[in-house]
Structures are given as C-alpha cells and as structure tokens.
Amino acid sequence: MSQQWIFTIVYLAWLAGAACFVLGLHRMNSPATARDGNRLSAAGMAVAVVATLVYLITRDGGLSGVALGIIVIGFVIGGGAGLYTARSVKMTAMPQLVSLFNAVGGGAAALVAIDDFIRLNSGAPVDTTIFVVLGALIGSVTFSGSLIAGGKLQGLIAGKPIYVPGGQIVTIAIALVAFLGTVALILGSAGVFALGSTATLGLLFLVVAAGLIFGITMVLPIGGADMPVVISLLNSFTGTAAAMAGFVLGNPVLIISGALVGASGAILTKLMADAMNRSVLNIMVGGFGGGDEAAGAVAGAGGTVREIGADDVAIQLAYAQSVIIVPGYGLAVAQAQHAVRELAELLESKGVDVKYAIHPVAGRMPGHMNVLLAEANVPYPQLKEMDEINPEFDRADVALVIGANDVTNPAARRPGSPVSGMPILDVDHAKSIVVIKRSMGRGYAGIDNELYSNPKTGMLFADAKEGLAALTAAVKAL
C-alpha cells in the first residue's frame, strides 16, 4: 500500500476518533446514556492512538528502537499508574484525582511544546513560535495550578484561601513576566530583533517558570469550596494547550480534540458556577486576592435556638410516618455516610418511610452527596433530586438535617444575602425539623441560618458521625 494511502487511512482514523469524542460528550449530557458516551469516547481514543502508532511505524524512516521503547514503556508505566489510582481511589476522593490527571495532561502538552521548540529552535517561523510558546505557557499554568487544586481538595494544602502577604502584587508581576517573555520570543522569531539561540532557550524557560509559579499563586488564594470550578477551568485550559501542540505538529486530531475540550470545558465551568450561584469571574478574582472572605466556617451567633437531646429525636423519628434526611457538607467532612445509612435502615425496619433530599450543590462538588451515599450503598432510588422532593416536605413529619446549612437557608428566598436566588430545600415546610451539626458555625456562604431559630427546629449539636451513632443507639433502645 502506498505511503499516501496509509496516511489517508490514518487521517480518517484520527477523524473518526475525534467524531467519537464529540458523540461521546453528547451522550454524556444525560444520565441514561452517560456511561456509553464515556466508553464511546474511550474507543475513539484507542483508534486515534493505534492509528498514530501505525503512521509512525509505516512512514519512511520508520520508528527507531529507542523511540518505540520510549513509547511502549512510557505508556505502560503511565497507563498502569493511571489505572491503579483510578480503580483504587475512594469515590469521595475522585475530584482531586481528576485534578491530578488534568495536571499531568497539561504537563504533557507543555513538554511536547518545549521539545518542539528546542528542535525548531530559532529556525521556527513566527506563527509556529506563537503556538509553541502559548502551548508551553498554558501547559505549565495548568500543571502547577491543578496540582495545587488537587492538593487543596485532598487536604494536603489548607482548603481555606491562603493569602501570601502582597500575594496579589506577586501574581500580577509573574503574569507580566510571562507575558513579556512571550512577546519577546515572538518578536525575536519575527526578526524584529536578533536573539541568540541560547537567549531564546533562556527566555522560553523563563516563560515556563513564570507559568508554573503563576499557576500556584493563582489557585492558592481560592477557597477549597470553589475548587470544582477552578479544576473545570484549568481543564478547559489544558484542552487549549493540546490544541496549540496540534498546531505546531500540524496534527488534526490534536487540534480538534483540544479545541473541543477548550470550548466545552468553558461552558461546563459556567454551568458549574451558576449551579452554586457564583460567577466564574469573582471566583478567579478571589484568586487575585479579592473577594470570597466568606468561605470557610466562621463561628457566629444566630437567634435564640432550641437545643434537643438524642433521645427526644429518637422518639420523634421512631414514631414518624415519613422522615426526609437532608445531607450536607458536614456529613462528608465527618465521613458519616455509613452511619446515616444504618440509622435509615433501622427506621425503615420500624416501618418509617425514609428519603434523602439531594440539593444539587450540597457538599463541595457537584454530585458530592450522590457519590458519598452511593459509597455507603444507599439504594439510588431513595435519593431524590430537589425539585422532586421539595413538595414532599409538606407531608414529612421530620426533616433530619445533617451537616447541611446554606442549602436549607430561607434567606435564599429573599434578595440581599450571598445565597439569594439559590434554590433551596423547603426543610421548613416539614412538621418538625432536627439539625445535626457541631455548633452554630456557618456554612460555605458564611452567613447565619434563620432556620435554626425557627420554633419548629431542634438543634442536636454533635459531630455528624457521633450524633448519628447516638441516635441509632437511642432508637434501638426504645
């Protein structure tokens, strides 16, 4: 078969792969088809990679033994590591893992760009240089940025915003350096002024270094709660970096897939931010030292509240017709998912109808509660989305709020509060309300919750796990 024919087939395979990515993403828009969608996309990836291998081996010159070794060994090591971590990670730790994968993806894009640059060094035409430098820069930003983001979610780095004194100035200065470096390189290759090849290399590394530092200083000051949004944004960056690499290598599948992720990632970031009614901008601005002081739980005084003991709550629950459990961030922090399932099963065995009310942004990542409770084997049908469950609160005897705060705050129904406009769970429609949390501490939005001063509300101050254990014991004891 002639060179050109093989290349034709390879090219069509690349195209088919890219098409699979699109159709895959399309199917991932709805729960029913999401899983096939992901698999379709994976299949596309396999096709694209195999096609590339064929292409490299068959093109004249062929593939040197060393190169083949690098490719195979590198793939086995990297793929193995990815496979192991992905299969063994706890469901609740997945977001930070995604962030890690995003980091390495960005890193790879940066390395590809750097290597190209070294090869083309100074011989490169302007446009190539632009793409190379942009690829290297964006790649490094996402690499370091995603690592920090993952670290925050994993708790390796303090989740609350970290403000380096004068951090804001530093960030801006770094950004400036990166920008000037890039411009210099481009003008240099445009021949506006002469740059020795060492100077050029030096400049590139300066840009890369600046990118790495910028990634760190940008993410550090952002609260852990905003990390899902940040990761999604960086994800879209990585896509762009991959596309840049595609331009340099003149490779269509890289350009298409990169641009695809760049764009869909951007849209997704917006959707995520909207879901927790924040704007992407003011989240990132937080990253430049502004806003977001709210995040992190600050102890604060509410109105007059009624405390209640485990035994009283146990009686209420045991003799209730229907109980709706409202899990929140606190349940995740306390890792109380198994404890809550136990209690729920106990109540059901006593003929109580138990449901879980899942607020879309309860916890700290979209779907946090679903993942958490799925891990504890809570049957999926018991989990009710907000719109489905809200009408049922009117008929519920007890609403048991566990470590949830903002998502139940009636203040959201009025304008003028940080949570205004966010749809909430109508917990206050239930005949009686019990809230398990450690203190009067505030939630992510950093505001008091008038629900707690509602006469129908009893506060059971305890760590979610211990509180639930106490309740289960008390119910058994009845």
């Binding site: 991932m28 992901n38 996309s41 993806g105 951007a266 779907g367």
Partner: protein
C-alpha cells in the same frame, strides 16, 4: 499565513463551535463526570508525545518525550477509568450498591 495554517484555523474554529453546542442543559449531578470525561479527552496529547518520541534524537528529547508519554498515558487511562466509575452510580437499583462497595472496599484510605 500559510494555507496549511489557515485550514488548521478553520478546523480549530469549527471544533470550538462543536464544543460550545455539544454541552446542553446538564443535571448538576453530571457536572463532575462530564468534567472528568472532557479531561480524559485532552489526554489526546498522548498522540503528540508519541510523535515527538519518534522524532527524538538526543538525550534531552528522549527524556522530554518519555515524561510526556508517561503523563499523557496517565491522563488517558486514568481519566476514562475514573469517569466510568463515577458513572456507575447512575445505574439504577441495587447495582448502584455494587458500585459503592467496590469504591469503598478497594480503598487504601486515599
């Protein structure tokens, strides 16, 4: 600009348009899996890594290419597998439980 570059630009633009259109109103519970899915897709840089590996001819390039391969492969393989696991929880009824156990049991307290 060269004609190659122009056609590449056309492809780039169209891919961006596809990206904008392909994400529609997604239920919040799908945000994380969707992000993770997109994340796996940019693992396509793996192809880039393979190409530079093929062109490498000096220790520096070898090293860069190797690291790029490892990173890229990790992004791809890990990305798809973890997304798939996330999506297991959308399988209705008891099977959902299985997904959970797997998640819990094989957990090294990460």
């Amino acid at each position: 600009m060269s004609n190659e570059l122009l056609t590449s630009l056309a492809i780039f633009t169209l891919a961006i348009l596809v990206g904008f259109e392909v994400i529609s109103k997604v239920p919040a519970t799908l945000h994380t899996p969707l992000m993770s899915g997109a994340n796996s897709i940019h693992g396509i840089v793996l192809v880039g890594a393979m190409i530079i590996a093929a062109e490498a001819d000096n220790p520096v390039s070898y090293t860069l290419a190797f690291v790029a391969m490892v990173f890229g492969a990790m992004n791809v393989v890990g990305g798809y597998v973890v997304t798939d696991r996330m999506l297991q929880m959308f399988r209705k009824k008891p099977t959902a439980a299985k997904a959970g156990t797997e998640g819990a049991s094989s957990a090294p307290g990460a």
